[in-house]
């Protein structure tokens, strides 16, 4: 017997008694459901970002005293002004280098079949997810006085004394480029992969030389991708702390270092606030200019690429004028490039492959150096190592301080990932599933922890949590990490939800599933791979995090990055290599595991129909 009939058979006109299922009733109401889903994210963003930031703004002019002299000091002091300019300069150089180096690789990736693609992506993903600290450490090993490069140059007889490579601008640019190239490749690739190569084929069949087809058809279509990757890298780069602090010399100081020094060493809080606000304003300014050219959300989530129905942006008009002016020059360039490259261009794109292999080598070699160094017999960081031994691994096995840090970081990462995944997933449901005004703005706002330089978030939370008296507690630290990782969860989950077949939930509902049953039996199981990815990203974000931890740690066990940071600054020895190797292995294993689970799930549930 079916339920409906049994009830209908009962008595005429008597509505069935509704079950006293509070949760189901609540989740049935649109407004209540909206509020429940929206509140965690809203509370997090307002409570732990907006309010702390306003503290800083308030503090930077000493509140009601309206004392703006600290801003004057930022600009009046030649040192400070120089640091600001150098920050922008370094950021710009690093951005241009990363984009230029990454573009051909991203281009090649768009042409690959799935097998080759996943092989290459592993080589890019591993560096991408390796902690900044470890990668920077690797460059210290490579560029050091007895590092790979100096030893190689000396043994080749090219130089007689080791070159000063470390603590130079060159080292900073190399180290940061190494950090940002994988980011550039993936950001550009995810939008470029949507561009059909048939456009270029069409151009060629219509008579364009390969160079023309590329320059006039394909390349202009990739410009939004290039631009958004550039913005992402630039605003991250100008807030960068670890690499310039370890690889640069005194003249390479960047603004984040200045702020950290003022806040922790000089205890010059107001100047620190003012410098933070200046950095924040620069970032906002850049984002504003960028928003004239591309939709901002494209920078962080490639899913919402520029839609065609939007009115042509300033960029389009600008480009048309620019193109017309450049026409003669372009023609000359095209024909020159064509004559030069046509003998080199082969169908197999061998040159592109060779280039890509070189880039991959640049990306992975430092990690390999670290792994080899961990087996060194020397007590010093010398490369190549004079002999092999397990001494550093044995030492690591006995180092209880490292063990404590390791387990503390795992705990912290797990807690942060759990909270961030729950808050971010609910937020993504809210942002994707409900209709309301300013949805785009709110989506952007929910990503703002990625836009605000980390050092500012760290300072703001420090002041704020001190007020709340949760500074130095585990909870306070977790909240800091949740704030930083929630945007990644939102980006991943929003993409997954946008691809979610809208008929599945009604199908569950009409066949008798209550809202919570639908969530448990249909929605969440289908979102499982996305949830895993989001959780892993959140965990890795927390596991790598240095600045916020430094500010919020208090007297707790140092996290792994803080432990690493402390050691790297005072005694750089191969023990760090052993620790790094271990971390890289663990991270790689977790990435591969999640990837395998995803593949299995996708293979089973992909919407394609078997013939």
């Amino acid at each position: 017997m079916n339920v409906a009939q049994a009830r209908a058979a009962g008595s005429v006109d008597e509505r069935p008694v509704k079950r006293l299922d509070v949760m189901n009733a609540l989740s049935g109401n649109r407004w209540i459901r909206g509020t429940i889903v929206a509140s965690p994210l809203t509370i997090l963003l307002i409570g732990f970002l907006v309010i702390p930031l306003s503290y800083i703004v308030w503090g930077s002019f000493e509140g009601s005293k309206l004392n703006f002299s600290h801003y004057a000091r930022v600009f009046a002091s030649e040192t400070n002004l120089n640091i600001l300019l150098r920050t922008l300069q370094t950021g710009f150089i690093v951005t241009v280098v990363s984009i230029t180096v990454g573009y051909p690789v991203a281009y090649l990736l768009t042409k690959l079949k799935s097998r080759a693609l996943s092989t290459i992506s592993v080589f890019i993903l591993i560096p991408l997810f390796t902690a900044f600290l470890i990668r920077t450490y690797a460059w210290m090993v490579i560029l050091g006085r007895e590092g790979v490069i100096n030893n190689a140059l000396i043994s080749l007889g090219l130089v007689s004394a080791p070159l000063q490579l470390l603590n130079t601008t060159f080292a900073v640019v190399i180290g940061m480029a190494h950090v940002f190239i994988p980011m550039a490749i993936f950001t550009m690739y995810s939008s470029m992969v949507r561009i059909d190569h048939d456009f270029a084929h069409a151009a060629q069949i219509l008579g364009a030389k390969p160079v023309q087809a590329f320059l006039r058809v394909y390349f202009p279509m990739t410009l939004p991708a290039v631009f958004s990757a550039g913005i992402l890298i630039f605003i991250t780069a100008i807030g960068f702390y670890i690499t310039p602090a370890l690889l640069g010399g005194p003249s390479d100081t960047m603004i984040s270092q200045l702020i950290v020094t003022q806040m922790t060493v000089l205890l010059n809080f107001e100047l620190g606030y003012a410098s933070s606000i200046v950095l924040l304003l620069v970032t906002i300014g850049i984002l504003f200019v960028a928003s004239l050219f591309i939709p901002l959300e494209m920078i962080w989530s490639s899913t919402s690429t520029a839609t065609l129905d939007e009115k042509p942006r300033v960029a389009a008009r600008l480009f048309t004028r620019l193109k017309r002016a450049m026409e003669p020059l372009l023609r000359v360039t095209e024909s020159t490039i064509h004559t030069v490259t046509s003998p080199l261009l082969t169908r197999q794109a061998r040159w592109l492959w060779a280039y890509t292999v070189l880039v991959l080598l640049f990306l992975t070699a430092p990690l390999i150096v670290v792994v080899i160094l961990s087996f060194s017999s020397s007590p010093f960081v010398v490369f190549p190592p004079p002999g092999l031994s397990m001494q550093w691994w044995e030492k690591l096995a006995k180092a209880t301080d490292w063990h404590q840090s390791f387990f503390f970081s795992i705990q912290l990462g797990a807690a942060a990932a759990l909270v961030a995944t729950i808050v971010g997933t609910m937020g993504a449901f809210w942002l994707v599933r409900t209709q309301f005004l300013f949805k785009r703005t709110l989506f952007l706002f929910s990503l703002s922890p990625l836009m605000v330089p980390v050092v500012i978030i760290a300072t703001a939370l420090y002041v704020f949590e001190a007020r709340l008296q949760i500074l130095g507690t585990f909870g306070g630290l977790v909240m800091g990490h949740v704030l930083l990782s929630v945007p990644y969860v939102i980006v991943v989950m929003a993409a997954a939800l946008r691809n979610f077949d809208p008929a599945l939930e009604p199908a569950a509902s009409v066949h008798g599933a209550r809202p919570l049953q639908t969530l448990r039996l249909v929605t969440l199981p289908i979102l499982k791979p996305a949830l895993l990815t989001a959780g892993l990203l959140a965990f890795l974000t927390s596991f790598d995090e240095l600045l916020v931890s430094i500010f919020l740690l208090g007297r707790q066990t140092p996290t792994l990055p803080i432990k690493f940071w402390g050691d790297i600054k005072y005694q750089i020895d191969p023990l760090l290599s052993a620790a790094s190797t271990l971390i890289v292995l663990l991270v790689t294993a977790s990435i591969i595991t999640v990837q395998l689970i995803r593949d299995r799930h996708n293979k089973r549930t992909s919407t394609s129909i078997a013939e």
Binding site: V3, Q5, P16, A507, I526, R604
Partner: protein, 356 residues
């Protein structure tokens, strides 16, 4: 196992947009009713209101004798086949079919039995361990059907279920769905924009246009006696020729057709002097070489503009003054008229109707 469904004066507004207007419809137990209409006509909205995904702005819906408008979808006990099947990709075929029973917490034994029976009914019993993406479109369709009927729903809704299938499979599934419906004696509401599906499968067809029920009738009356121009042109092919009613008597009228020729046709309520349209199906029009002095009623002189040979029949377009008349003639070895041939087209007065 079937229930009647009644929609009483249903209205649906989306803001100022009136998408469903004055819906009054009683579907008998065991009846197969099709909502037929162009896209955007409101037929899917009407179906969603029955399923419980949309709430009517006003009006009431009864399943049997019970009002269901205030029930959420999951308490209505309705089976539904979705346009793209909406099979749960992470569940096997058996799990998908068992879903309505699982969420109702049916005993395992009973579930297994019912799932087995439902899969047998759609002839998919050997596929129960597969995942939906390992099945072809037609197979997915069968599973969706099995899932919708496994819990003996009081009524089955189908939202353009054949739209995604290729032509042969569609023909086959039409017959399968009819067989299963007869076997279970289910009440079915079927939504489509495809008139062939509607004409073949339904006991009654509800033609919907701009949110309104235009005509509810069985296939034959709908095709033979459309109530207005919309139905006439949406269901099947038709000729619409402007005409004037000169003299009306007992539902039959003497007319002037296309402003020149005399004619006679059945009226649908027109009076003397009314300007209206003469409706006649192309297969009811005869075509012949122009007879010099034929001044019989319902005959127009024209020239063949275009003759399309379609195998079992030929389709002529004949230009008669300002009008183009479509003629379909079975090919039984008669003479063929090439383009440019002067011809006369004519039809019997009982085969044509005057529509407003």
């Amino acid at each position: 196992m079937s229930t009647s469904l009644e929609m009483k004066n249903i209205q649906k507004f989306y803001g100022p947009l009136h998408v469903v207007k004055d819906f009054d419809l009683l579907i008998q137990p065991g009846e197969f009713v099709t909502f037929l209409g162009p896209s955007g006509s409101g037929k899917t909205t009407a179906l969603k209101m029955i399923a419980g995904f949309e709430t009517p702005t006003s009006g009431d819906i009864f399943l049997g004798s019970r009002s269901i408008v205030d029930l959420p979808a999951y308490e209505r006990g309705i089976g539904m086949v979705f346009q793209n099947y909406a099979l749960f990709p992470h569940m096997t075929v058996a799990e998908n079919v068992a879903f309505p029973l699982t969420v109702r917490k049916a005993p395992r034994q009973e579930t297994a039995e019912k799932v087995g029976r439902a899969l047998q009914l759609v002839k998919m019993d050997q596929y129960s361990g597969r995942y939906p993406n390992q099945l072809s479109g037609g197979q997915q369709q069968r599973i969706a059907l099995a899932r919708a009927i496994v819990f003996n729903p009081s009524i089955l809704l189908m939202d353009e279920p054949l739209g995604a299938l290729d032509r042969n499979l569609r023909e086959h599934m039409k017959i399968e769905i009819m067989r299963i419906q007869k076997e279970l004696n289910m009440t079915v509401v079927f939504v489509t924009h495809d008139q062939d599906e509607a004409l073949t499968m339904s006991d009654r067809i509800a033609v919907i246009n701009e949110g309104r029920l235009v005509q509810v009738d069985d296939s034959k009356s709908l095709y033979g006696k459309p109530k207005n121009r919309f139905v006439a042109s949406f269901v099947g092919e038709s000729n619409m020729i402007p005409c004037r009613v000169d003299h009306a008597q007992n539902g039959v009228g003497k007319l002037t057709v296309a402003g020149i020729a005399p004619g006679a046709a059945q009226l649908s309520g027109q009076t003397d002097g009314a300007k209206a349209w003469l409706f006649v199906r192309p297969e009811h029009v005869d075509i012949d070489l122009r007879a010099p002095a034929a001044d019989a009623p319902n005959a127009l002189h024209g020239v063949v503009e275009n003759a399309l040979f379609l195998g079992e029949m030929t389709r002529y377009l004949v230009r008669c003054g300002d009008e183009t008349i479509t003629v379909k003639r079975q090919n039984r070895g008669q003479a063929h008229f090439a383009g440019g041939t002067p011809v006369t087209v004519s039809w019997k007065s009982e085969d044509c109707t005057v529509l407003n």
